[in-house]
Symmetry: C2
Subunit: 244 residues, 2 copies
Amino acid sequence: MSLSKNNLKLITSLQRKKYREKHNLFVAEGIKVVNELLNSSIEAFHVFSTNEDFSVSKEVDFTVVSDNELKKISTLKNPNKVLGLFKIPERKKLKVSGFIVALDEVNDPGNLGTIIRLCDWFGVTQLVCSKNTVDCYNQKVVQSTMGSLTRVNISYVDLPEFLKTTDLPVYTADMNGTNVYTSSLPQKAVLVMGNEANGISKEISGIVKHKLTIPRFGDIQQTESLNVATATAILLSEFKRGLK
Amino acid sequence: MSLSKNNLKLITSLQRKKYREKHNLFVAEGIKVVNELLNSSIEAFHVFSTNEDFSVSKEVDFTVVSDNELKKISTLKNPNKVLGLFKIPERKKLKVSGFIVALDEVNDPGNLGTIIRLCDWFGVTQLVCSKNTVDCYNQKVVQSTMGSLTRVNISYVDLPEFLKTTDLPVYTADMNGTNVYTSSLPQKAVLVMGNEANGISKEISGIVKHKLTIPRFGDIQQTESLNVATATAILLSEFKRGLK
């Protein structure tokens, strides 16, 4: 009932996408996130906890570990009692209807996690990512989604191809677009958000018809840009606010 | 013209608030952030760069360092050519007018940095922080503000006392408030945002009159809350959108 060398090796290897794909497993940590996943349709594989009373169904492997062992397998500064291995679910078919958020090379795991959480909040059930967007089973993404990962369908696709063939109108954020506050926005659309440093790629910029600007306020107009997650928050809010 | 032991020790010590206050200095890294600060009213103290041609005025101490030396003093995964020490400016007097954002025990440096950047974008020149909010000269805050730090006046105060005595109407985000999308919002107000895990304190909740809710969308109503920075983005956008 303690941590085996093989499990230590397995868990550490899952920090890399290559091994997540090989073993078809990802890691989640902390009581809150692990419980959200245990109560979802995602299949649990093995749970490690410093608390022997941590509640897991009988079909799931469960190992009690010491605080020191948890520290060894955790990537958190302050490990929180439990770490779980979960099976990466089969990718659901991309559902092209309603409102879709698309990401073009978003690199920061925290940003992707925040955007998944925003999609969940705003009822966006389909997120489409370019193949060079960070992996949604990256441990930092899993932690920052706070469970929303189980409620948003995430597809990695050839993004230019997807945008060229969709019937939905395609929008993006752009410094030289139309004022989002005075634009009439459709309920069904694709909203493409771009890379943290470079925005959307030239190829995608050529495909997107509708460019929206979040106006800057204040006298000194030097703020270069909003963070991609906060810009997504503001734009999703604008697309959805008329519905409530 | 290389890194002295004393400078190494000084720079490393500045990761802690205690030593930032003792030396009255803070650290910024990377070409973009350092240049923003060099071009601001903030006084530069010493710049270290791997590039001897990095442009600094004659009054500022300048030291060329090797890549390895930069790695030693940097807290970034990928140090970007330059690290600067800057003097912490004298706190400007708190200016209670117009629109103010107030923070109650925001702990995460990335969140504070993002909120400072949002204030700058939305023309909010005064940010008021409770004394237990993370220090705005924390290195991670400085990095994530991307220069906005120089354009927003940040005051650390007894927050309940401040909110009790201000003449401005005080707003906050709350799950049981009025729908922000259909509320009539004033141009002059204080918007208080709370701690990442616990929201605003009970004491402050008792003081705040106006509670706003960002409605949740979608069928499955399980997303627990929005991240404090994305909620601030949406609420600031709502307060300001009527002006453009």
